[in-house]
Symmetry: C2
């Protein structure tokens, strides 16, 4: 049962959301992102503005897919996960993150997941579950992704010699990390290499630790 | 051990990152975000541009704090977590997320966590662990946060009558959700209420489920 702190034991009241008074686009010449400015009035009559970016590559309610790919096989004593270190211009650094990709028109979430996992890590996998669309940075962006859980059989013939296929602007290294102890390993990699870490990957690792003492 | 797929059993090679050729700022008049455009050359000599936003409220390597607050007390048969539904202009909707706040100059991560938890949910808590700074949307933004784990004793005298304190533009409802089954409950709330869901909160819930069969 969802409960409100102000109304213990009852369903939370549906607070009146702000009213959108106007929305404008600031010209940037970008093919990928537009800069937006909304003016809003809150339920007590106070006006405020809000700046954010909107992804122009959003063809449906979501625009990307992140893949948690669990790898098993006879050479692994315990399950591993595929993590990439991708060079990201905003970070001016490599960032440890889940393999991920942008959805093209007409593609399903599952198709993007299988394709991007293969392109970015070289591995073939199959999707076992998918989240609804999730906001990456809801204070400043419309950017959304689905998080997918996939299984990779490292012993399958198609995974005998994984080969990656990177696009222009993609500089990616692939790591296979044990799922047990993943949070600690991310902390170590950040400290050892000076790499950045993605908040979604870290939150997943934190959940693994809190959920099972991993 | 971190391993590269291309070099099984060895440390991954340090791929040559792109070289930054130039960086410009597109004027938007925003107090909060600036729109940036980098021109880069990859290791094979191909040039490309990258558009992204930079937070102007970044006073150190991170700019925000998200709080996973575990609530225990005699009225709870099992641990709960404080989740907020905050109205977010980019989403034009309520978004289910962890309580969070922006760091002001001179504040520590722990101070922000305790203050924002109190302001947004009404509860007093204490920080038990903190992540390093983590990227929220590293493809399009410099936005970073630390994820903090906090403990809340619902039986403590200061938590007898939790009162929230919201700023202009903040429309927030607080929910207390059981940690067990959190992923399923987020799916249900999205379906029942039509609310958005934050990717960090969902990834944490997915990790809890995968880590312990919750």
């Amino acid at each position: 049962m969802a409960r409100s702190i102000q109304h213990r034991g009852e369903e939370p009241p549906r607070t009146s959301p702000p009213t959108l008074l106007s929305s404008s686009t600031v010209e940037t010449g970008s093919k990928w992102l537009e800069f937006k400015r909304d003016t809003l009035r809150d339920s007590s009559g106070r006006d405020f503005t809000w700046d954010y970016i909107n992804r122009l590559t959003k063809f449906r309610e979501t625009d990307g897919v992140g893949i948690f790919a669990k790898v098993t096989g006879k050479e692994f004593a315990e399950p591993h996960v595929l993590v990439i270190a991708q060079w990201r211009p905003p970070a001016r650094n490599f960032v440890l993150e889940l393999p991920a990709g942008i959805i093209s028109p007409g593609e399903t979430v599952e198709e993007v997941a299988v394709r991007e996992l293969k392109e970015e890590t070289g591995y073939a996998g199959r999707v076992v579950s998918a989240s609804p669309e999730l906001y990456n940075d809801q204070g400043t962006s419309t950017s959304c992704l689905n998080v997918v859980v996939a299984e990779v059989d490292a012993d399958a013939p198609e995974n005998a010699a994984p080969e990656t296929e990177h696009e222009i602007g993609e500089t990616i290294e692939t790591l296979l990390l044990p799922i047990r102890g993943l949070r600690r390993r991310l902390d170590e990699l950040k400290a050892e290499k000076g790499w950045g870490v993605c908040s979604r990957l870290y939150s997943l690792a934190l959940g693994l630790q809190l959920g099972g003492g991993l």
